[in-house]
């Protein structure tokens, strides 16, 4: 008799629970190896053995048992339902979701509004710049063309330097202009000075400007630090970026202020 046949003969008793420990372990090991025939026999034997329950004499449990059991089951069902209800999206979660939604909408609106404000500010700034440029040009034109302006030629000791010309209008300010002006080295700048008439008076610093790429130089001083009557001359020096409180180099251009 093969091992399989030997185990096959034990299957019904195994399912019945009648095998002694050694045989039981051996059958379980054999089934664990995957014997298809014995596994099928075991499944069939389970049904066969279950039918032996009908050998028990008929009997009926008490109504008390039914009542106790259903009471327990009802209570557990209610408790589970209550737990389920309490678990189903609590109020605080809805509140959190609502708050998050409001916050998201608010931040979105804030972002849009901020962008709008930035765009408006840029537009206002550009308009201001354009207006200022327009006013500056108008002022420069007025100063240059108004016959009440005083013309101040500004010559240079250096032969390769072009002559500049300043015009001072008592009301509108000073305009200094020139063509083909070489740019100062590096980041240095040209600075305008007002030389006072008083004896030993120190030069009064004014605005700074570098000529543009084409060498054009146009400086407008709308609010000169000194009056025309108190000023002896205008001078331009080359200074470090940001200008100086007092000239650090010899003037390149100097123009004497005459009578208006």
């Amino acid at each position: 008799m093969s091992d399989r046949d030997r185990f096959r003969e034990l299957i019904e008793a195994y399912v019945l629970g009648a095998l002694d420990p050694e045989e039981r372990s051996a059958v379980e090991a054999h089934l664990a190896e995957g014997c298809a025939e014995c596994s099928k026999a075991r499944d069939e034997a389970r049904w066969l053995v279950s039918q032996l329950a009908y050998l028990a004499p008929e009997a009926q449990p008490s109504d008390l048992l039914r009542g106790r059991l259903l009471e327990t089951v009802h209570a557990e069902a209610r408790a589970k339902h209550a737990r389920k209800s309490s678990r189903s999206v609590p109020f605080w979660m809805w509140a959190a979701v609502a708050a998050l939604l409001v916050f998201t909408l608010y931040t979105s609106w804030e972002t849009v509004d901020l962008r709008r404000q930035i765009a408006e500010s840029i537009a206002r700034a550009q308009a201001e710049i354009a207006k200022r440029n327009e006013l500056q040009e108008m002022l420069e034109t007025n100063i240059v063309t108004d016959p009440r302006s005083v013309r101040i030629p500004m010559a240079s000791d250096k032969k390769d330097m072009p002559q500049l010309e300043a015009r001072w209008h008592a009301r509108f300010g000073i305009v200094v202009a020139g063509q083909n002006v070489p740019a100062p080295s590096g980041t240095r700048t040209l600075q305008l000075w007002l030389i006072p008439k008083v004896q030993n008076g120190k030069p009064i610093p004014s605005l700074m400007l570098r000529p543009d790429a084409g060498g054009k130089f146009m400086l407008l001083v709308t609010n000169p630090p000194e009056t025309m009557e108190a000023t002896k001359a205008l001078a331009i020096t080359e200074e470090p970026a940001g200008g100086s409180a007092q000239p650090t180099t010899k003037p390149i251009w100097v123009g004497t202020v005459g009578s208006p």
Binding site: A18, D20, D43, Q60
Partner: protein
């Protein structure tokens, strides 16, 4: 042809038990009540036969049905009929109780703390109601030799092993093994012949 088609359709229809057990997963108390009313007598009769004490038997029956209620997903209707599974569960619980009382070691196939596997039933079993099923089992058991019947009952209702039965009946071990095996085979043949 029509009858054949009807039979096929009928065999594919889920049994009332399968539908009721599926409903337990969603805590349907009404389905549980129906299952209890359908099968509590068979379960109680088996447990009482094993334990022989009504009060203790009712405790075990209560445990069995509560386990069904709390762990109904353990039964897979596609694997086999419900009642054999429930009766196997009840037998295991009752024998556990008996063994705890007598402090014997467990020796059965199915561990007491686990739910039993589902037994697949032969096709012809679908048409039998519980009363006819019980009558047939008793009739077939009545056709066995008294020693065969006694040995099988000792194993099934008292959870005794071959050796314990041999000791109880004062018969050789090999004889007891033959009684049980041949008796079960005759039962099986009887079921098949009756179908």
């Amino acid at each position: 042809m029509f009858l054949a088609l009807l039979t096929v359709l009928e065999s594919r229809r889920p049994s009332p038990d399968a539908t009721l057990v599926r409903n337990l997963v969603r805590q349907d108390v009404n389905s549980f009540e129906q299952l209890y009313d359908r099968h509590s007598r068979a379960v109680y009769a088996l447990v009482l036969r094993i334990l022989e004490q009504a009060a203790t038997a009712e405790e075990v029956v209560q445990d069995v049905f509560l386990q069904l209620w709390r762990n109904s997903a353990a039964y897979d209707p596609d694997r086999g009929p419900f009642l054999p599974w429930l009766l196997t569960l009840a037998r295991n619980r009752a024998l556990d109780h008996l063994r705890l009382k007598s402090e014997r070691q467990r020796r059965r196939e199915d561990q007491s703390d686990e739910l039993p596997p589902v037994a697949s039933a032969p096709e012809y079993e679908r048409e039998l109601d519980e009363r006819r099923r019980a009558e047939r089992v008793r009739s077939l058991m009545g056709s066995l030799m008294p020693q065969q019947k006694r040995a099988i009952e000792l194993a099934y209702f008292e959870g005794l092993t071959h050796s314990e039965i041999a000791e109880r009946l004062k018969e050789p071990l090999g004889t007891v093994k033959s009684w049980i095996r041949n008796g079960l085979l005759r039962l099986k043949e009887g079921f098949e012949a009756a179908s």
